[in-house]
Symmetry: C2
Subunit: 147 residues, 2 copies
DNA sequence: CCTTCTGGCCGAAGAGCATTCGGCACCTCG
DNA sequence: CGAGGTGCCGAATGCTCTTCGGCCAGAAGG
Protein backbone atom coordinates (compact mmCIF):
# COMPACT_ATOMS: atom_id res chain seq x y z
CA UNK A 1 0.00 0.00 0.00
CA UNK A 2 2.29 2.74 -1.28
CA UNK A 3 1.60 6.10 -2.87
CA UNK A 4 0.89 4.45 -6.23
CA UNK A 5 -1.91 2.36 -4.69
CA UNK A 6 -3.35 5.49 -3.10
CA UNK A 7 -3.24 7.31 -6.41
CA UNK A 8 -4.98 4.40 -8.12
CA UNK A 9 -7.68 4.42 -5.43
CA UNK A 10 -8.21 8.16 -5.82
CA UNK A 11 -8.57 7.84 -9.58
CA UNK A 12 -10.93 4.88 -9.33
CA UNK A 13 -13.05 6.83 -6.85
CA UNK A 14 -13.43 9.61 -9.38
CA UNK A 15 -14.12 7.33 -12.33
CA UNK A 16 -14.13 3.55 -12.17
CA UNK A 17 -14.93 3.17 -15.86
CA UNK A 18 -11.58 4.28 -17.23
CA UNK A 19 -9.30 1.73 -18.86
CA UNK A 20 -6.33 0.14 -17.12
CA UNK A 21 -4.16 1.61 -19.86
CA UNK A 22 -5.19 5.16 -18.88
CA UNK A 23 -4.93 4.26 -15.20
CA UNK A 24 -1.44 2.86 -15.64
CA UNK A 25 -0.25 5.83 -17.65
CA UNK A 26 -1.47 8.21 -14.95
CA UNK A 27 0.68 6.53 -12.30
CA UNK A 28 3.58 5.50 -14.52
CA UNK A 29 2.82 1.79 -14.90
CA UNK A 30 1.85 -0.53 -17.73
CA UNK A 31 -1.77 -1.59 -18.12
CA UNK A 32 -0.95 -5.09 -16.88
CA UNK A 33 0.80 -3.85 -13.74
CA UNK A 34 -2.03 -1.42 -12.96
CA UNK A 35 -4.53 -4.22 -13.40
CA UNK A 36 -2.56 -6.46 -11.06
CA UNK A 37 -2.43 -3.79 -8.34
CA UNK A 38 -6.14 -3.08 -8.59
CA UNK A 39 -6.90 -6.81 -8.52
CA UNK A 40 -4.96 -7.13 -5.26
CA UNK A 41 -6.67 -4.07 -3.77
CA UNK A 42 -10.00 -5.78 -4.44
CA UNK A 43 -8.74 -9.09 -3.08
CA UNK A 44 -7.58 -7.46 0.15
CA UNK A 45 -10.91 -5.69 0.56
CA UNK A 46 -9.44 -2.21 0.26
CA UNK A 47 -11.82 -1.78 -2.65
CA UNK A 48 -15.08 -3.14 -1.27
CA UNK A 49 -16.92 -2.95 -4.59
CA UNK A 50 -17.31 -0.74 -7.60
CA UNK A 51 -20.71 0.87 -7.65
CA UNK A 52 -22.89 3.33 -9.55
CA UNK A 53 -23.56 6.48 -7.55
CA UNK A 54 -27.24 7.32 -7.92
CA UNK A 55 -28.73 10.79 -7.41
CA UNK A 56 -31.25 10.43 -4.52
CA UNK A 57 -33.34 13.32 -5.84
CA UNK A 58 -33.82 11.46 -9.14
CA UNK A 59 -35.39 8.62 -7.17
CA UNK A 60 -37.72 10.97 -5.35
CA UNK A 61 -35.82 11.02 -2.05
CA UNK A 62 -35.61 14.75 -1.62
CA UNK A 63 -35.73 14.85 2.18
CA UNK A 64 -32.60 14.03 4.18
CA UNK A 65 -32.56 13.80 7.95
CA UNK A 66 -30.35 12.56 10.78
CA UNK A 67 -32.12 10.95 13.70
CA UNK A 68 -30.73 10.50 17.20
CA UNK A 69 -32.33 7.37 18.61
CA UNK A 70 -32.56 7.09 22.39
CA UNK A 71 -32.96 3.68 23.94
CA UNK A 72 -33.74 2.06 27.23
CA UNK A 73 -31.74 -1.06 26.50
CA UNK A 74 -28.52 -2.31 24.93
CA UNK A 75 -28.81 -1.81 21.17
CA UNK A 76 -25.65 -3.58 20.12
CA UNK A 77 -27.51 -6.46 18.46
CA UNK A 78 -30.19 -4.43 16.72
CA UNK A 79 -28.48 -3.88 13.36
CA UNK A 80 -31.03 -6.00 11.50
CA UNK A 81 -33.96 -4.08 12.94
CA UNK A 82 -32.58 -0.84 11.49
CA UNK A 83 -31.55 -2.46 8.22
CA UNK A 84 -35.15 -3.61 7.76
CA UNK A 85 -36.15 0.00 7.11
CA UNK A 86 -35.09 0.76 3.52
CA UNK A 87 -35.17 4.52 4.12
CA UNK A 88 -32.40 4.14 6.74
CA UNK A 89 -29.12 4.53 4.84
CA UNK A 90 -26.73 4.49 7.79
CA UNK A 91 -26.95 3.33 11.40
CA UNK A 92 -24.22 3.86 13.98
CA UNK A 93 -23.88 3.13 17.67
CA UNK A 94 -22.66 6.34 19.25
CA UNK A 95 -21.19 7.63 22.47
CA UNK A 96 -23.25 10.25 24.23
CA UNK A 97 -26.77 10.80 25.41
CA UNK A 98 -28.49 9.06 22.51
CA UNK A 99 -27.41 5.54 21.62
CA UNK A 100 -27.91 5.19 17.87
CA UNK A 101 -27.54 7.72 15.07
CA UNK A 102 -29.28 6.99 11.77
CA UNK A 103 -29.31 8.74 8.39
CA UNK A 104 -32.67 8.72 6.64
CA UNK A 105 -33.80 9.67 3.13
CA UNK A 106 -37.48 9.98 2.19
CA UNK A 107 -39.55 11.66 -0.50
CA UNK A 108 -41.55 13.85 1.90
CA UNK A 109 -41.60 14.94 5.51
CA UNK A 110 -44.76 12.85 5.95
CA UNK A 111 -42.77 9.77 5.00
CA UNK A 112 -40.04 10.88 7.39
CA UNK A 113 -42.61 10.92 10.15
CA UNK A 114 -43.63 7.40 9.18
CA UNK A 115 -40.00 6.27 9.44
CA UNK A 116 -39.84 7.80 12.94
CA UNK A 117 -42.95 5.80 13.83
CA UNK A 118 -41.30 2.60 12.62
CA UNK A 119 -38.12 3.47 14.53
CA UNK A 120 -40.20 3.75 17.71
CA UNK A 121 -41.52 0.27 17.01
CA UNK A 122 -38.02 -1.22 17.32
CA UNK A 123 -37.44 -3.04 20.62
CA UNK A 124 -35.69 -0.87 23.17
CA UNK A 125 -36.20 2.45 21.38
CA UNK A 126 -37.52 5.01 23.82
CA UNK A 127 -37.29 8.23 21.83
CA UNK A 128 -36.07 9.98 18.69
CA UNK A 129 -34.76 13.40 17.85
CA UNK A 130 -34.79 14.24 14.14
CA UNK A 131 -32.62 16.87 12.48
CA UNK A 132 -33.74 17.84 8.99
CA UNK A 133 -31.13 18.84 6.42
CA UNK A 134 -31.94 22.10 4.61
CA UNK A 135 -29.07 22.04 2.12
CA UNK A 136 -26.25 19.58 1.48
CA UNK A 137 -22.91 21.31 0.82
CA UNK A 138 -21.25 18.09 -0.36
CA UNK A 139 -20.95 14.35 0.18
CA UNK A 140 -17.70 12.68 -0.83
CA UNK A 141 -15.64 9.55 -0.15
CA UNK A 142 -12.48 9.40 1.95
CA UNK A 143 -9.41 10.84 0.28
CA UNK A 144 -6.79 8.08 -0.10
CA UNK A 145 -4.05 10.61 -0.82
CA UNK A 146 -4.68 12.67 2.32
CA UNK A 147 -4.26 10.00 4.99
CA UNK B 1 -37.79 5.87 -15.45
CA UNK B 2 -39.75 2.63 -15.12
CA UNK B 3 -39.21 -0.47 -13.05
CA UNK B 4 -36.58 -1.74 -15.50
CA UNK B 5 -34.47 1.39 -14.97
CA UNK B 6 -34.80 0.95 -11.22
CA UNK B 7 -33.70 -2.64 -11.47
CA UNK B 8 -30.72 -1.65 -13.58
CA UNK B 9 -29.76 0.99 -11.01
CA UNK B 10 -30.02 -1.49 -8.17
CA UNK B 11 -27.81 -4.00 -9.98
CA UNK B 12 -25.25 -1.37 -10.92
CA UNK B 13 -25.12 -0.22 -7.29
CA UNK B 14 -24.26 -3.74 -6.22
CA UNK B 15 -21.70 -4.34 -8.97
CA UNK B 16 -20.84 -1.84 -11.67
CA UNK B 17 -18.27 -4.15 -13.28
CA UNK B 18 -20.71 -6.68 -14.73
CA UNK B 19 -21.21 -6.82 -18.48
CA UNK B 20 -24.16 -5.27 -20.29
CA UNK B 21 -25.01 -8.74 -21.53
CA UNK B 22 -25.47 -10.00 -17.95
CA UNK B 23 -27.26 -6.80 -17.03
CA UNK B 24 -29.65 -7.10 -19.95
CA UNK B 25 -30.35 -10.75 -19.29
CA UNK B 26 -31.23 -9.97 -15.67
CA UNK B 27 -33.92 -7.49 -16.70
CA UNK B 28 -35.05 -9.20 -19.90
CA UNK B 29 -33.33 -6.98 -22.47
CA UNK B 30 -30.57 -7.35 -25.03
CA UNK B 31 -27.10 -6.06 -24.25
CA UNK B 32 -27.56 -3.18 -26.65
CA UNK B 33 -30.84 -2.06 -25.12
CA UNK B 34 -29.44 -2.31 -21.57
CA UNK B 35 -26.46 -0.24 -22.64
CA UNK B 36 -28.72 2.39 -24.17
CA UNK B 37 -30.77 2.70 -20.97
CA UNK B 38 -27.71 2.99 -18.78
CA UNK B 39 -26.21 5.56 -21.14
CA UNK B 40 -29.33 7.70 -20.79
CA UNK B 41 -29.35 7.31 -17.01
CA UNK B 42 -25.82 8.71 -16.98
CA UNK B 43 -26.73 11.46 -19.41
CA UNK B 44 -29.67 12.55 -17.27
CA UNK B 45 -27.51 12.57 -14.16
CA UNK B 46 -29.43 9.80 -12.42
CA UNK B 47 -26.12 7.95 -12.31
CA UNK B 48 -23.71 10.62 -11.09
CA UNK B 49 -20.61 8.52 -11.62
CA UNK B 50 -19.35 5.00 -11.17
CA UNK B 51 -16.87 4.79 -8.35
CA UNK B 52 -14.72 2.39 -6.36
CA UNK B 53 -15.91 2.05 -2.77
CA UNK B 54 -12.84 2.15 -0.52
CA UNK B 55 -12.67 0.74 3.00
CA UNK B 56 -11.87 3.69 5.30
CA UNK B 57 -10.18 1.42 7.83
CA UNK B 58 -7.72 0.27 5.16
CA UNK B 59 -6.65 3.88 4.73
CA UNK B 60 -6.16 4.32 8.44
CA UNK B 61 -9.34 6.30 9.09
CA UNK B 62 -10.65 4.24 11.96
CA UNK B 63 -12.40 7.03 13.85
CA UNK B 64 -15.78 8.28 12.64
CA UNK B 65 -17.59 11.21 14.22
CA UNK B 66 -20.49 13.54 13.53
CA UNK B 67 -20.01 17.14 14.55
CA UNK B 68 -22.76 19.68 15.16
CA UNK B 69 -21.33 23.08 14.28
CA UNK B 70 -22.89 26.12 15.93
CA UNK B 71 -22.47 29.48 14.32
CA UNK B 72 -23.02 33.14 15.03
CA UNK B 73 -23.56 34.05 11.38
CA UNK B 74 -25.21 32.88 8.18
CA UNK B 75 -23.28 29.82 6.96
CA UNK B 76 -24.99 29.38 3.58
CA UNK B 77 -21.91 30.39 1.60
CA UNK B 78 -19.32 28.50 3.62
CA UNK B 79 -19.27 25.26 1.63
CA UNK B 80 -15.71 25.80 0.42
CA UNK B 81 -14.42 26.39 3.94
CA UNK B 82 -15.66 22.96 5.01
CA UNK B 83 -14.57 21.29 1.78
CA UNK B 84 -11.04 22.55 2.46
CA UNK B 85 -10.76 20.04 5.32
CA UNK B 86 -10.12 16.65 3.70
CA UNK B 87 -11.27 14.79 6.81
CA UNK B 88 -14.76 16.28 6.41
CA UNK B 89 -16.71 13.83 4.24
CA UNK B 90 -20.13 15.47 4.43
CA UNK B 91 -21.39 18.93 5.34
CA UNK B 92 -25.06 19.83 5.61
CA UNK B 93 -26.94 22.97 6.61
CA UNK B 94 -29.53 21.84 9.14
CA UNK B 95 -32.63 23.07 10.87
CA UNK B 96 -32.39 23.21 14.64
CA UNK B 97 -30.13 24.62 17.30
CA UNK B 98 -26.88 23.99 15.46
CA UNK B 99 -26.47 25.26 11.91
CA UNK B 100 -24.16 22.80 10.16
CA UNK B 101 -23.73 19.04 10.57
CA UNK B 102 -20.50 17.48 9.33
CA UNK B 103 -19.28 13.90 9.08
CA UNK B 104 -15.60 13.41 9.88
CA UNK B 105 -13.19 10.49 9.52
CA UNK B 106 -9.73 10.50 11.08
CA UNK B 107 -7.10 7.98 12.08
CA UNK B 108 -7.12 8.86 15.78
CA UNK B 109 -9.07 10.87 18.31
CA UNK B 110 -6.12 13.26 18.48
CA UNK B 111 -6.59 14.02 14.81
CA UNK B 112 -10.31 14.43 15.41
CA UNK B 113 -9.48 17.08 17.94
CA UNK B 114 -7.29 18.80 15.38
CA UNK B 115 -10.20 18.82 12.92
CA UNK B 116 -12.38 20.43 15.59
CA UNK B 117 -9.72 23.08 16.04
CA UNK B 118 -9.74 23.78 12.29
CA UNK B 119 -13.55 23.89 12.30
CA UNK B 120 -13.40 26.56 14.98
CA UNK B 121 -11.10 28.55 12.71
CA UNK B 122 -13.82 28.86 10.06
CA UNK B 123 -15.46 32.31 9.95
CA UNK B 124 -18.70 32.42 11.91
CA UNK B 125 -18.20 29.15 13.78
CA UNK B 126 -18.91 29.66 17.45
CA UNK B 127 -18.94 26.14 18.79
CA UNK B 128 -18.86 22.42 18.04
CA UNK B 129 -20.40 19.34 19.55
CA UNK B 130 -18.79 16.08 18.47
CA UNK B 131 -20.46 12.67 18.60
CA UNK B 132 -18.06 9.75 18.24
CA UNK B 133 -19.27 6.57 16.54
CA UNK B 134 -18.51 3.41 18.51
CA UNK B 135 -19.71 0.89 15.93
CA UNK B 136 -21.17 1.26 12.44
CA UNK B 137 -24.07 -1.12 11.80
CA UNK B 138 -24.12 -0.39 8.07
CA UNK B 139 -23.72 2.27 5.40
CA UNK B 140 -25.55 1.75 2.12
CA UNK B 141 -26.86 3.69 -0.90
CA UNK B 142 -30.49 4.57 -1.55
CA UNK B 143 -32.61 1.64 -2.72
CA UNK B 144 -33.96 2.44 -6.22
CA UNK B 145 -36.54 -0.35 -6.00
CA UNK B 146 -38.04 0.85 -2.72
CA UNK B 147 -39.03 4.39 -3.67
C1' DC C 1 -58.85 4.76 -41.39
C1' DC C 2 -54.43 5.50 -42.98
C1' DT C 3 -50.07 7.81 -42.88
C1' DT C 4 -46.22 9.54 -40.66
C1' DC C 5 -43.27 10.09 -36.90
C1' DT C 6 -41.10 8.86 -32.70
C1' DG C 7 -39.05 5.80 -29.37
C1' DG C 8 -37.32 1.63 -28.05
C1' DC C 9 -35.62 -2.85 -29.06
C1' DC C 10 -32.87 -6.46 -31.51
C1' DG C 11 -28.85 -8.54 -33.73
C1' DA C 12 -24.52 -8.09 -35.92
C1' DA C 13 -19.84 -6.13 -36.70
C1' DG C 14 -15.65 -3.69 -35.76
C1' DA C 15 -12.76 -1.61 -32.57
C1' DG C 16 -11.04 -1.54 -28.16
C1' DC C 17 -10.18 -3.52 -23.81
C1' DA C 18 -9.45 -7.00 -20.01
C1' DT C 19 -6.93 -10.80 -18.71
C1' DT C 20 -3.30 -13.96 -18.95
C1' DC C 21 1.34 -15.52 -19.69
C1' DG C 22 6.40 -15.88 -20.30
C1' DG C 23 10.37 -13.42 -19.41
C1' DC C 24 13.23 -10.18 -16.90
C1' DA C 25 15.10 -7.32 -13.12
C1' DC C 26 15.50 -6.56 -8.36
C1' DC C 27 15.49 -7.65 -3.48
C1' DT C 28 15.86 -10.70 0.48
C1' DC C 29 17.31 -14.36 3.03
C1' DG C 30 19.67 -18.60 3.74
C1' DC D 1 26.73 -17.24 -4.09
C1' DG D 2 22.22 -19.12 -5.09
C1' DA D 3 17.27 -19.78 -4.45
C1' DG D 4 12.99 -17.94 -3.87
C1' DG D 5 9.79 -14.25 -4.13
C1' DT D 6 7.88 -9.97 -5.90
C1' DG D 7 6.70 -6.66 -9.26
C1' DC D 8 6.95 -5.06 -13.81
C1' DC D 9 6.80 -5.24 -18.95
C1' DG D 10 5.07 -6.50 -23.55
C1' DA D 11 2.39 -9.38 -26.38
C1' DA D 12 -1.55 -12.45 -27.54
C1' DT D 13 -6.29 -14.01 -27.22
C1' DG D 14 -10.74 -13.84 -26.16
C1' DC D 15 -14.40 -11.07 -24.55
C1' DT D 16 -16.83 -6.70 -24.23
C1' DC D 17 -18.19 -2.13 -25.47
C1' DT D 18 -20.11 0.67 -28.79
C1' DT D 19 -22.33 1.68 -32.90
C1' DC D 20 -25.34 0.86 -36.67
C1' DG D 21 -29.23 -0.52 -39.71
C1' DG D 22 -33.54 -2.48 -39.50
C1' DC D 23 -37.88 -3.66 -37.23
C1' DC D 24 -42.07 -3.10 -34.42
C1' DA D 25 -45.51 -0.61 -31.59
C1' DG D 26 -47.77 3.30 -30.25
C1' DA D 27 -48.93 8.29 -30.79
C1' DA D 28 -50.12 12.21 -33.55
C1' DG D 29 -52.35 14.24 -37.31
C1' DG D 30 -54.70 14.56 -41.65
Amino acid sequence: MDHIDRSLLARLQQDATQSYAALGQAVGLSAGAAHERVRKLRERGVIRRTTAEVDPAALGSGVLAYVMVESSAWMGESADAFAALPEVLEAHVIAGSASVLVKVRTATTEQLQDVLRRLYAIDGVSGTQATVVLETFFERPVDPTAV
